[in-house]
């Protein structure tokens, strides 16, 4: 039988189930038989039905006339295809996946190792370059002689580091023959104020005083092949002034 106390102080299930039509037929018959006898339950039923009716009227007034919005998912087929399609394969894709799967600390370690390797390569490359310059310097050893009347110096002295490397014994190789070259210092002739001419160069280029000043501050680039920019002494210039090189 319907227990009013249980419904109002407990789970209230029977009253709400009856109002919303979710009570089975047997329970409904029991509840309605109780309603015939109990005025309080009838009043409660009316009160809750009234509250519910207010919500229903509100829904009907404010919402029922509204059209249901049309929900369109753009490019839904593309999404399905993307999900269903296999993953792209390739070296870079695999590399990206591999990097992505590596933990952060491993990435940091790999970055440090790569940076160390890069620094090492740069250092070795710089050292080899300097050694090559030193060897070339040792082989040519151009002497810069200025004119007695303090004409602009054409060649700047080699950097100290190059000189130190050149003094190293291992560069004084005995098994590597050094051609006997008669070194001729480039001579310039002043042809006007602020201008001079190289009188013993192959091209007898016209020198600009500014370029001469610049040449003082840089080391001779003996391994350069840029004739247009290089204003310094070259081995080819020297060789053009001497006879055939004796072969050892």
């Amino acid at each position: 039988m319907f227990d009013r106390k249980r419904n109002l102080d407990g789970d209230h299930g029977d009253l709400l189930s009856y109002i919303y039509g979710e009570m089975d037929e047997q329970s409904r018959n029991i509840f309605e038989s109780h309603l015939e006898e109990c005025d309080d339950c009838a009043v409660d039923l009316g009160a809750f039905s009234d509250a519910r009716l207010g919500v229903v009227e509100w829904r009907r007034s404010d919402f029922d006339h509204l059209a249901t919005p049309e929900i369109v998912i753009p490019q839904a087929e593309d999404v399905v295809v993307l999900v269903a399609s296999p993953a792209k394969s390739g070296f870079f894709t695999g590399l990206a996946e591999l990097i992505g799967s590596v933990p952060v600390f491993a990435k940091a370690g790999a970055g440090l190792v790569a940076a160390a390797l890069l620094i090492g390569v740069i250092y070795v490359s710089f050292s080899a370059n300097s050694s090559q310059v030193a060897v070339a310097d040792m082989n040519s050893k151009p002497e810069v002689r200025s004119q007695p009347d303090s004409a602009p110096v054409t060649l700047a002295p080699a950097p100290s580091s190059t000189v130190e490397i050149a003094k190293d014994d291992k560069f004084k190789s005995e098994d590597r023959p050094v051609p006997a070259v008669r070194r001729v210092a480039p001579q310039t002739k002043v042809i006007g104020q602020g201008q001079q001419i190289a009188v013993n160069g192959p091209k007898a280029r016209r020198l600009n005083p500014l370029r001469t000043e610049t040449a003082k501050s840089v080391a001779p680039r003996l391994n350069s092949f840029d004739d247009e920019e290089d204003q310094t002494l070259r081995l080819s210039d020297l060789f053009s002034q001497v006879g055939p090189i004796r072969q050892y």
């Binding site: 039509g21 009160a47 009227e57």
Partner: protein
Amino acid sequence: MLAHLTDEQLVELAVSRDREAFGEIVKRWERKIFALCFGMLSREDDARDAAQETFISAYRNLANFRGEAKVSSWLHRIAVNQCLTVKRRAKTRSEEFLDDDDGREERVFVAPLHNSPSRKAEQVERLKLVRTAVSSLPTDLRQVIVMKEFEEMTFQEISDTLEIPLSTVKSRLYTALKQLRMKLDRVPLEIA
């Protein structure tokens, strides 16, 4: 003048064939009696007919009202009996016409016939109160109200959706309706 009288005083006047007094009783209770009928019959047209029959029956039986119970209880008892009569008739009719209805009632709410301006103004005011009352409900209570009344979900569906026990769903709905009722009436709900 009649508005200041109690229900019992109005009944005494109505027994003496004061139609205005009985009209005041109808005005006071028609909404609640209609709601009760709607709660029992689930169809507004049936509920309206049942409410009409309730007040006609009460008017005819004014002389039998002894004042031992409240007028509200008396009217509710008449309404319950009227609704049960309607349901029994409907059941008998469906059996006579071999209706294959499985007993689950169709829940249809038909637009009420509020034609008079005063009724419309009353309806507008009531809708305002409902909006305010529902908006002021706590989120968990309002959620159950919306799922039940707007989405027309069953208690079990709400329980599955919110992943809460079935008893909690009913308890929340009970509390929500109770608070709504209190806010709409602005008087405490009579729950013994």
